[in-house]
Symmetry: C2
Subunit: 329 residues, 2 copies
């Protein structure tokens, strides 16, 4: 079957319960389950075109040709799609992010989720959401959470079939906003991919993992009940647990900058003062400040006054990955 | 036997392997052993005078009368000394620190070590070092490490008799300097005493404790072999492990300020650049930067250039607690 062309978009996501470390590095079966919210308005837009005349896969990211490890990672995902579809052509992939790479928002989740959906459709497949999530996971763990919409749980599972993400509530379930305090625009010294491999060098990782089930339950229930204070407490605890593991591995990873601490402390002070807001920090210095949408402008104004905050982006709960017709040509 | 008067001085200490959390809170039997260095040049100077005319114990700290919880803590220690000595008089205690309270250097270790020695001698006792260390421990855990000299290990033990500190190397064994970057002069929101009680609320404390024996061995061997790089790695790891537990308890304790992170990151950068220096942070924002004394001026100069560093104190390895004759009168 000659394959065709398809285009998909997908949002990044912010985890309330974090993914850090794998039970199986090769297949990205995570050490623990995680829960996240897709980020509306931010997206990767990815077109895949299989073609008989291409000698190898080609990848353009924001208009720039990509080679090396990043291209191999995309090709490995395309290989899985080709194997499923019985397609042999190479692909031309063009992906754009509508958020600047320099903002420190990871594009691997949204980029690989969009690539998974676009490539599978271009190859003639019509995969169920769970299968798309599994496929995306093999390229980037957190990408599996950008396939379903709204508030999403990634059940850790124990093998390829059992490890995928699903929606626990749609975007409109809870009017939350992620106010992203951008603190540094420089590249991180250690990528998440490398960091995951170090998780087990921390004497604390096993304790973090074995206590994750309880936090997943608290977080899931907080989302379902729209209980902000419960979400705030478990989200900050889980973020600190991940950074605790990062800080105590060999080598230790310190992702926090001085302004990261200033924002974290400020948010906790605001909450003690009655403003519902909580922080979570990924593998980088930026602070995601989660709050009810009714408080978002207030939170953004306060964040903009803090030393070291370069800009503040904001995002509501986002939709699932989806096909679009407006190709880039 | 009518009791008399005695005066003692004792140094604070900085732990390379930290004490955080107790196996037995009432007796301050710690969850894990710890290793520290006394800090020469900084000291508490404490005079104890038992007197028939006193109706109750009186305590003056830096010339100010102290009442409430702090006085009760000192009286409880004096009660133990009186019970050992068969003395019934109340005591007048006058204690001075030669380091400002506002510098954030804890005075409880040096203060209670000096009080233990002065009170026991004033009561007519001539206790062995181990017994002084045990007594000091009952008032303030880390005070037991300020009784012996130089580089000190506190063996956790399992009861009052087995839990005390001893010197593993004299002050002159290794020319190290602790360059103390003072970052805040405000009082800490949660005292160490309160913090110890929260240690077990962190899901990470058990893992920190169960892996402590290995770090104690590495640290002890690094000191005995004067292996700075080994000391640096285990000291920073252990400091981060303690703060990991603090950050992930209920409630979480964030002792770091933005400048704390700046100093920690800077020190790691200097070390990567070839300057032997490492950080350790107690239950407060100040950063203790340990380095070979040959590099101390260099480290102090660099620390003074960092934003948020108010002043830099420095201390070589200090002597044991000792009696002095120059009374305050």
């Amino acid at each position: 079957m000659p394959a065709g062309t398809a285009t998909a978009i997908s949002c990044p996501n912010i985890a309330f319960i974090k993914y850090w470390g794998n039970r199986d590095n090769a297949r990205r079966i995570p050490a623990n389950g995680s829960i996240s919210m897709n980020l509306a308005g931010l997206y990767s837009h990815t077109q895949v075109a299989f073609g008989l005349t291409l000698e190898k896969d080609r990848l353009f990211l924001d208009g720039e040709a990509v080679t090396g490890a990043a291209l191999r990672r995309a090709s490995a995902l395309l290989d899985r799609v080709r194997a499923l579809a019985g397609v042999h052509e190479r692909a031309l992939v063009r992906s754009y992010n509508n958020f600047p790479t320099g903002t420190g928002i990871a594009s691997s989740a949204s980029g690989f989720a969009a690539l998974t959906l676009a490539a599978s459709r271009a190859a003639g497949l019509d995969l169920a959401e769970a299968e798309l999530s599994r496929l995306a996971r093999t390229a980037s763990g957190s990408a599996c959470r950008s396939i379903p919409g709204g508030f999403v749980e990634w059940r850790a599972g124990y093998d390829h079939a059992s490890s995928y993400a699903f929606s626990i509530a749609p975007p409109e379930h809870w009017e939350l906003t992620d106010c992203i305090a951008v603190i540094s625009q420089s590249h991180k010294p250690t990528t998440s991919q490398e960091g995951h491999l170090l998780a087990d060098t921390s004497p604390l990782q096993a304790a973090r993992v074995s206590s994750a089930e309880s936090r997943l339950r608290i977080c899931r229930n907080a989302i379902l009940a729209r209980d902000f204070e419960a979400l705030a407490q478990v989200t900050e605890l889980d973020s600190n647990l991940m950074h605790a593991v990062m800080l105590t591995g060999s080598p230790g990873l310190m992702y926090w900058l001085p302004a990261t601490i200033l924002v974290m402390r400020s948010v906790q002070g605001w909450r003690r003062g009655g403003l519902p807001a909580c922080f979570t920090v990924d593998a980088g210095p930026n602070v995601h400040v989660i709050c009810p949408t009714s408080e978002a402008q207030h939170v953004i104004d306060r964040l903009n006054q803090l030393d070291g905050v370069i800009q503040v982006l904001s995002a509501a709960p986002g939709e699932q990955a989806r096909l679009v017709t407006n190709n880039l040509d």
